[in-house]
């Protein structure tokens, strides 16, 4: 199966994995080993003189997997840009998962500020992975600004609801065939990820579904398999649903059949 490329980087998997909320650093490490993700998402938070973030970074660096820093929790354009600039220095990557939130109940992205921040970050040389709603026009505007990757939500972050609006997600895929599309957020079950991949999405980004599973390591393996299967199914060409039955066994030469006069 053809690997996913982003900015000339070959990703080993179409599973993008978040690193937050695991029961322990050890479980996080085992989950990464089981998932074999294409990239790992990370964030920036205030550092203490005790250096609490340094151990985490040592663990992540050891996997030698590309990292995608985020601007999680940002509501304003300026704070998102400053966070992205700090992330570029810390993680030594131009990639940024741009979160500019507009509602603290649903954590829905603010489409207007997202556009503004995207334009500024692209002008500063970033490769922006915008966390967006599933709105087609927003996707087209982001692409016009220079985004080759779009990351529409499946459902609100951490909700585990799956794909709330399959119609909108399919429409994005159909209307933007040249974009790298990643369903980001809201995934709960492996079947949700499979559904996204069967639509032709290029990857799935998830965190909570694995980190908060009863057995995060087993769930990481389950997602890895289902994402690969979903992609393979999409490439193989899924049949169109029909309203009526269509016998798969040939009717010709059926025994005991007699033509009525």
């Amino acid at each position: 199966m053809k690997a996913l490329h982003i900015d000339n980087t070959i990703l080993q998997s179409r599973l993008f994995l978040g690193t937050a909320g695991y029961p322990s650093p050890e479980v996080l490490g085992w989950a990464i080993e089981a998932a074999k993700p294409g990239l790992l998402t990370v964030s920036l938070r205030r550092e203490s003189a005790a250096g609490k973030g340094q151990d985490f970074w040592s663990i992540i660096k050891g996997f030698n997997i590309p990292v995608l820093p985020n601007t999680a929790g940002c509501y304003g354009v300026e704070e998102a840009i400053t966070t992205a600039e700090m992330a570029r220095e810390v993680f030594k990557t131009n990639w940024i998962k741009l979160e500019v939130l507009g509602d603290d109940y649903t954590l829905q992205p603010d489409p207007f500020r997202l556009l503004e921040a995207t334009e500024q970050l692209i002008s500063k040389g970033f490769t922006v992975f915008p966390y967006m709603t599933d709105d087609l026009v927003l996707g087209e505007r982001l692409a016009a600004l220079g985004c080759d990757i779009l990351m529409p939500w499946g459902a609100p972050i951490g909700s585990g609801r799956g794909l709330n609006n399959p119609y909108a997600l399919k429409l994005l895929r159909e209307r933007m065939p040249g974009e790298t599309l990643v369903v980001d957020a809201g995934i709960g079950a492996p079947s949700h990820a499979a559904a996204a991949m069967e639509m032709g999405y290029d990857a799935v980004l998830l965190n909570t579904a694995i980190a908060k599973a009863t057995d995060p390591v087993a769930m990481a393996g389950a997602f890895a398999q289902t994402i690969e299967a979903g992609r393979a199914g999409y490439l193989a060409g899924i049949i169109e649903p029909q309203q009526s039955a269509s016998a798969s066994t040939p009717a010709i030469d059926k025994p005991f059949w007699h033509q009525e006069n």
Partner: protein, 66 residues
């Protein structure tokens, strides 16, 4: 003079550069990034960045994220 480091007010003795302030407050040899009054300050400019009374310093490091 008083500056704020990650939300905590701290008294420092002027004149002081940003790099001095970081070192004196325990941030030596760490993977960090710094913003001063909401603006990112690249590592290469820490030694040339003078601090003023009331400055707001944010120091961040890698952390778990989704």
């Amino acid at each position: 003079m008083i500056v704020t480091i990650n939300g905590q007010q701290t008294t420092i003795n002027p004149p002081l550069k940003l790099s001095d302030c970081l070192a004196k407050n325990g941030y030596r040899d760490m993977t960090i990034a710094v913003a001063l009054n909401g603006t990112f300050v690249p590592k290469g400019e820490h030694a040339n960045t003078a601090l003023n009374d009331g400055d707001d310093i944010e120091i961040v490091a890698p952390m778990q994220g989704g």
